[in-house]
Amino acid sequence: MQVKRRSFVCVLFLVVLWSAGGVAQAQSIRVVTTIPDLADITKQIGKELVEVESLTRGVEFMHAVPVKPSFVPKLNRANILVAMGLDLEISWLPALLEPASNPKIMPGQPGHVDCSAGITVLDVPRSVDRAEGDVHPKGNPHYNLDPFNGKVIARNIADGLGRNFPQHKAVFEKNLAAYSAELEKAVARWQTLAAPLKGTKFVAYHSDWAYFASRFGLQQIGSIELKPGIEPTPNHLVALVQKMQQEKVQVIIYGPQSDRYPKQLAGQTGAAVVRLQSTGGATAETDSYIKFIDYNVRSLLAALKKS
């Protein structure tokens, strides 16, 4: 009995020590972001004042991120949560915020930074009905694919950090100005680089490339999915091949989906196939927001050159 009690006290002591360790580390501003792009931009603006972690790694399909209880302690300790909003994280974030016991970062609270504020939203549905598939009532949430929106995201993050830690506002503003200038330079470079993309006709697996297409002048002809979130039927694929041939579609873009249908369609139509990233962070080539956009532009150009 004595031994049991002692071991119980030991375990309790260890748990307390562990928790105290967690508190002792807590000197910088703890920021949790939903995607790596936001983590990178937050790091650029917060620099050494912030300790940033992204919940997803950049390889996930954003509408099927597993609800991992290991995210709960991270959300519990966060000073600030930076999210994309527009319901991009609807299938997993609310379920994690529920047990996280952190009122500061709940939607609508100062610690919840929604980066979609001020974005010109594309693909806002005229009517919301699931007969149209898994539609986003608030519009297309993949706005991070347009680098112009990178500046809006950065501004929202700087505002969010400044709102919660006004004592560092000047530093955030200075870092924001520097990052915005860097981003602007990169945007100018991409606009020159991506000039040949103008007018390129493409088919996408899932309709998440609207912002990218509108920025660089690409034209989407169709989707492999029957409706958002719904796999194609054989009839849909036959009709799509016909349309691709008529419209002379040059490239098929897919993301974290299987390459089965893209390759099948490419075989039938001669279009190029390219896998682009819908968020950064998946590889060393996309480990910053700027590198991620760069990767997408260059990959698409390379695919077109090959075709």
Partner: protein, 416 residues
């Protein structure tokens, strides 16, 4: 004179000539100048035209933007003022099966239509309710308040809800990976852990997920007939619960979740049994998941197992005796591609009165997810029933299940 006269006209001619020449030269020069002026004016006209067009275009755009801004502002104002803006999220799940059991025959079984309503109540709490209509009538399955801003990592819940016992007991049956509630869960816990009461959860400040729950309820279990929910009782007739739940990521793609629960009733009583006594219901749950992050849409494996034990004084032929009945289930399900998954469920359900007698069943199942909201499932069950004299749960059983969800229907973290 002549010469001068001659000279004069010649002079005059030459003068006229030179004047004409001058004029013509001048005229030529003027012509080219005019030409250049004309082209200049033309160019300017074109530029002006372009500029005007651009101005028109810009004004147009500004007009569109202004109209758009106005529309957005109006709609935002309308949304803010519309009474429907504060309506909660509403959704429904419909679950029906066609069944064929070798002992009981076939039936179309309308299992449930479950209406869910959820919304924030105020900055301090959120509320949710599930009303379930089935062949047995309509009942309030859950209707509870949960705090959202208690300090010290605490969260309180009150009302009617699925108590934090085990894992599957908190699932609404349409969310299972297979068709039926395992008999072990049904007999030992009483199906879902439905309870009227209050709970307090604590999230430990550890780097990994560790959560503890304590609760007090009238009774625990949707099909628990031991006590009457509507009557007041002494403190010893309530059920008290304790649970610890933890989770580890083994790697990015592999994870393990563990939980242990105990529900203790100091004085429980089975109807028609004079002698009461304490009842201890215990549970151990383990879930392993393989979720390859880059292909969760197409691949995955989950293994879930739970052990239950019930210890209480029960009426037997030989008199009233304390019996311990252990049982449990285990299942594994693999995702074959985006739409299809297949699995197997083993269930071992004892008789509470004679734990030596068991119903064991083996169920392979195949699920077709037409979309996220529409699912067909085929299940075959072979049961070996040594508990019921009629062998009702034994033999060959076939199920075809159709489950759909409408609107916003989510059971959140508990049904992950």
């Amino acid at each position: 004179m002549v010469s001068s006269a001659l000279r004069t006209p010649s002079l005059a001619v030459s003068a006229v000539f030179s004047v004409l020449l001058f004029i013509s030269e001048r005229g030529l020069a003027q012509d080219s100048e005019l030409e250049s002026l004309r082209s200049l004016v033309k160019g300017m006209e074109q530029q002006l035209q372009k500029a005007l067009q651009r101005i028109d275009q810009l004004e147009n755009e500004r007009g569109i933007t202004a109209t758009r801004v106005e529309q957005v502002e109006k709609s935002a104002r309308a949304r803010q003022s519309a009474p429907s803006a504060l309506n909660p999220a509403i959704g429904m799940a419909i679950d029906a099966t066609a069944e064929q059991r070798s002992k009981a025959g076939g039936t179309f079984n309308f299992r449930s239509a479950e209406i869910g309503i959820a919304a924030s109540i105020d900055p301090y709490a959120r509320g949710y309710a599930y009303f379930t209509g089935s062949g047995e009538g309509v009942e309030v399955e859950e209707a509870a308040m949960v705090t959202t801003s208690l300090p010290w990592n605490l969260q309180a819940r009150g009302g009617r809800f699925f108590a934090d016992f085990g894992r599957l007991a908190k699932f609404h049956p349409h969310e299972y990976a297979f068709v039926n509630t395992p008999l072990s869960l049904e007999r030992i816990v009483g199906g879902e852990s439905k309870a009227d009461g209050a709970e307090l959860s604590y999230l430990f400040p550890t780097p990994f997920f560790l959560r503890g729950t304590v609760g007090g309820y009238n009774k625990l279990g949707a099909e628990n007939e031991r006590l009457d929910d509507s009557k007041s009782r002494s403190w010893s007739r309530f059920t008290y619960l304790g649970r610890l739940n933890t989770y580890f990521d083994l790697t990015d793609n592999h994870s393990v979740e563990l939980g242990t629960s105990v529900a203790f009733t100091p004085s429980s009583r089975i109807p028609d049994v004079a002698q009461g006594g304490s009842r201890t219901l215990s549970g151990l749950d383990l879930t392993y998941r393989y979720q390859p992050l880059d292909s969760t849409l197409y691949q995955g494996l989950s293994f879930g197992a739970e052990l239950f034990g019930n210890s209480e004084r029960l009426q037997r032929a030989s008199g009233v005796r304390r019996m311990f009945a252990p049982g449990g289930y285990a299942y594994a399900e693999a995702k074959l591609n985006r739409e299809w998954s297949a699995g197997f469920l083993y269930d071992n359900a004892p008789s509470l009165v004679s734990p030596g007698k068991k119903t064991q069943s083996y169920s392979p199942f195949l699920t077709w997810n037409l979309s996220e909201f529409n699912r067909l499932r085929f299940q075959y069950t072979y049961g070996n029933d040594n508990v019921n004299e009629s062998k009702a749960d034994g033999g060959n059983q076939f199920f075809l299940q159709w489950t759909t969800t409408l609107g916003a229907h989510s059971h959140g973290f508990a049904n992950r």
